[in-house]
Amino acid sequence: MPELGKYAFAVLSSYAVTLIGIAVLIAITLWRARKVRRDLARAETMMRRRHE
């Protein structure tokens, strides 16, 4: 761990906010991607069945 002295709060808070922000952005992106893909697959299956 580097010596941060009186700047420890500013530096650590900045890194924490950034890492959490990026992690949440990735998580929401992947969660919505999965949900829409699943919903679309379900809708396409229903449409195929209807046409059979």
């Binding site: 420890a8 530096v11 906010v17 990735i26 679309l40 809708a43």
Partner: protein, 241 residues
Amino acid sequence: MSLWELANPTLFMRLSGRMLPVLWVLAAATLATGLIWGFFGTPEEARQGASVKILFIHVPAAMMAINIYAMMFVTSLVWLIRRHHVSALAARAAAPVGATMTVLALLTGAFWGQPIWGAPWDWDPRLTSFFILFLFYLGYIALWAAIEDPDKAADLTSVLALVGSVFALLSRYAVNFWNQGLHQDATLSLDSRTNIDNAFWVPLLICIAGYFLLFLALLLVRTRTEIRARRLRALMLSGVH
């Protein structure tokens, strides 16, 4: 292959699907290298001490906030002129990423400003233009959500993106020409006399590359999702449900 062919959703889905695994790995590796180097491997700066380590997350976030809006400006223009749906959906997909980057730049700037300036915020032209850029991101996202018809939403949000690009431009150049307020001049310069020292410059470049690759990966995933969501909407309207 021409760039316009990518506006074909089928081709876009096929190519982006192939690119994504590589992009995720590259983004993770580059970002990890840059952040670890920046945090653990750089010395203290003469005037700013250890707080200079915030540079490696603040500058890339601010650059991405502005450049993502520039990308939205271009894709919105393409939508308005050539009516390519992938282009409008890419702009929509990029906006939340840009808004997040703007918030991260504002927050890390506030954390940095408190010990260095003695205040986390100042309504100086540079900071204010950046805050207005954030409001444009919010307005853009809200406008997409508020309009039911996707083509009409794309039209109106594209116009908003064009108007907001003025503030993106202001935020980009305000650090160069608005010599008032607390914010320092531009950190990066092509002139080696005014550019930051190599001890900071190299890890910063790696961090910028990492942020860019991360944005690219997120953009592709989110655009693919928007394309699928549009297809889902079309199926629902045709009476599947």
